[in-house]
């Protein structure tokens, strides 16, 4: 099937992420493509609208680096630690310069779903008697055509680029993931362009042996980037754990603009890419993030039918 889509992160971002784009790096706590976020910073993209349920440390870094003009989100924090300080600096007080567009988690998931399904809106039973539709006029009531009341609608979200990290893909971009699946599938189908970053490149036969495990078909994928540890400090089910120390350490760094700049200089601008980053983190730190033991899924039989 066609030619390989395997590319370096540099080339994938250079070709597919453009100034002014709406970019979604999705993955709910799991499989967050920090490596793509860093490359976007390194290439100096600007005026991006960044969409993500949980902006997390990666968008805090991207905002600190000046790539964003707006964030579309549903929960803005450093999970388990506190606030996102770089984002707070540009959203609190009279000099706020970063635009925020805010939903709930299900609202964001429903927005991607409407985008993926080419629907003009998606109805959900949420937002009743809250202030969210007051401050976000895109959350609108919609009456059931069956005369049984009103629910709320959210509009489709169609990113220019969606970037997801996964355990494995083949060279066509056929992608499989397990563990938490978040809304990567919906965000990818909703997007104009898709970059998949994987821990491991596998033969097409590995994918085709378990078609129910596929979350994204190569059909909608523009580039496959192979970068082990590309989701660090977030995690990859079965491969490595969340590096909680990183999330905790980010808090004091991000409170201090100078320290933040120094961190970006050292860990992003000062490195060529994820391979350098992995080397700099060091084998010992990485080894400590491996699962305590394997937990195999077991195999099921699809049968051959000739």
């Amino acid at each position: 099937m066609g030619t390989s889509k395997v590319a370096s992160m540099h080339d994938a971002v250079a070709a597919l992420v453009r100034d002014g784009d709406t970019v979604a790096i999705e993955g709910f706590t799991h499989l967050i493509s920090f490596s793509a976020g860093h490359e976007i910073i390194r290439q100096g993209r600007h005026d991006l609208t960044l969409a993500r349920l949980t902006p997390d440390v990666i968008y805090d870094q991207m905002v600190a680096a000046g790539v964003a003009r707006k964030i579309i989100f549903s929960w803005l924090g450093n999970p388990g630690v506190g606030g996102l300080n770089a984002i707070r600096r540009v959203t609190e007080g009279p000099s706020a310069s970063l635009e925020l567009e805010e939903y709930s988690h299900f609202g964001m998931v429903a927005r991607y779903t409407a985008g993926a399904a080419n629907l003009p809106f998606f109805p959900i039973r949420s937002y009743f008697e809250t202030d969210l539709p007051v401050v976000n006029p895109l959350i609108r009531p919609i009456e059931s055509p069956y005369g049984d009341g009103t629910v709320y609608a959210v509009p489709p979200l169609k990113p220019d680029v969606t970037i997801v990290h996964a355990q494995r893909a083949d060279a066509n971009g056929d992608t499989q993931a397990w563990g938490l699946l978040g809304c990567q599938k919906e965000a990818a189908f909703a997007a104009e362009r898709v970059i998949v970053v994987v821990e491991e490149l596998v033969e097409e036969a590995v994918i085709r042996a378990d078609p129910n495990r596929t979350i994204i078909p190569g059909l909608i994928v523009d580039a496959v980037v192979v970068e082990p540890w590309g989701a660090h400090p977030s995690y990859v089910q079965g491969a490595y754990d969340r590096d909680n120390r990183f999330y905790i350490d980010w808090d004091p760094i991000s409170r201090d603009p100078a320290a933040t700049d120094a961190w970006l200089a050292e860990w992003v601008h000062g490195l060529g890419g994820r391979a350098d980053y992995v080397e700099k983190l060091g084998a010992e730190r990485l080894a400590g993030l491996r699962p305590s033991a394997p937990a195999p899924s077991g195999s099921v039989d699809y049968g051959e039918y000739r």
Partner: protein
């Protein structure tokens, strides 16, 4: 080994919150304090409790306290891991969640919750995380449990932003609106703080039913933005037991993130 005579206010709060889950079946676990309270309940009063994580997990059996609302330990050994669409649409909105367990930055006497901003929305003095799933949990879970520390800044006469609806302007008002709008949720039923346990009375207002050991009614009144209703049968919360403390200190929160 663990001295039950010495415990922190946080330990009392978490133990009391966990005990409220006795007899419950399916609990949607919020980020932060709810996470440790629910995990403690699963190991004590409610071993059959089914844990639902908004990250897309049903029937989690975390081998350690999950570091956040998403963690590989909530997936390994779970009954089902699925897309967030499926979790929110079929489990939560579909009406399968008995208890939604939330934290809050601000709460009012009717259990309405703010986790969005302090101050004006467009120009906030503090930008809080926002709804996450809390807004739809409050509407669709059959009942809501809240765990949060008391202070004049958090227990307020009027919340700055309504992220998650509680009993709105009172029980009669809330019941009419829920019926008219077809909510599955019946609203908040418990608030557990570092000082005591509140349930909601017939007016839909918080009522202090139990005071934690060491806490006083003065301390309660000093940390609440309205004149609180106090049960005529005010109880004293039983102190955390040795096993509860042991579980919190050794297994769930050895780093002391929540229990200090």
């Amino acid at each position: 080994m663990t001295d039950p005579a010495a415990f922190t206010k946080s330990e009392m709060m978490i133990a009391a919150a966990a005990r409220e889950l006795a007899g419950q079946r399916v609990c949607f676990v919020g980020v932060g304090l709810p996470n440790i309270a629910v995990n403690l309940a699963k190991r004590t009063v409610a071993p059959d409790l089914e844990l639902v994580y908004e990250a897309g997990v049903f029937g989690a059996r975390p081998a350690r306290l999950p570091l956040s609302i998403g963690d590989p330990t909530i997936v390994s050994g779970a009954t089902a891991a699925m897309s967030m669409f499926e979790l929110f649409a079929f489990y939560l909105q579909g009406g399968l969640v008995d208890v939604g367990f939330l934290g809050a930055a601000q709460i009012d006497r009717f259990g309405n919750i703010n986790t969005t901003v302090i101050g004006d929305y467009a120009n906030p003095s503090t930008r809080l995380p926002g709804s996450g799933g809390a807004c739809e949990i409050a509407i669709n879970a059959r009942q809501i449990f809240v765990i949060m520390r008391q202070s004049k800044r958090s227990f307020v006469g009027k919340i700055d932003f309504r992220t998650s609806p509680g009993n709105l302007g009172g029980a009669a008002n809330a019941e009419r609106i829920r019926r008219e709008q077809g909510w599955l949720g019946r609203g908040p039923s418990v608030v557990v703080t570092d000082l005591g346990i509140y349930h909601f009375d017939d007016d839909g207002e918080m009522r202090l039913d139990s005071l934690h050991p060491g806490a006083t009614l003065e301390a309660v009144r000093d940390t609440i933005g309205w004149e609180p209703r106090i049960s005529p049968d005010l109880a004293v919360t039983p102190a955390p037991t040795g096993p509860e403390l042991e579980l919190m200190r050794v297994e769930l929160d050895p780093g002391g993130t929540y229990i200090r």
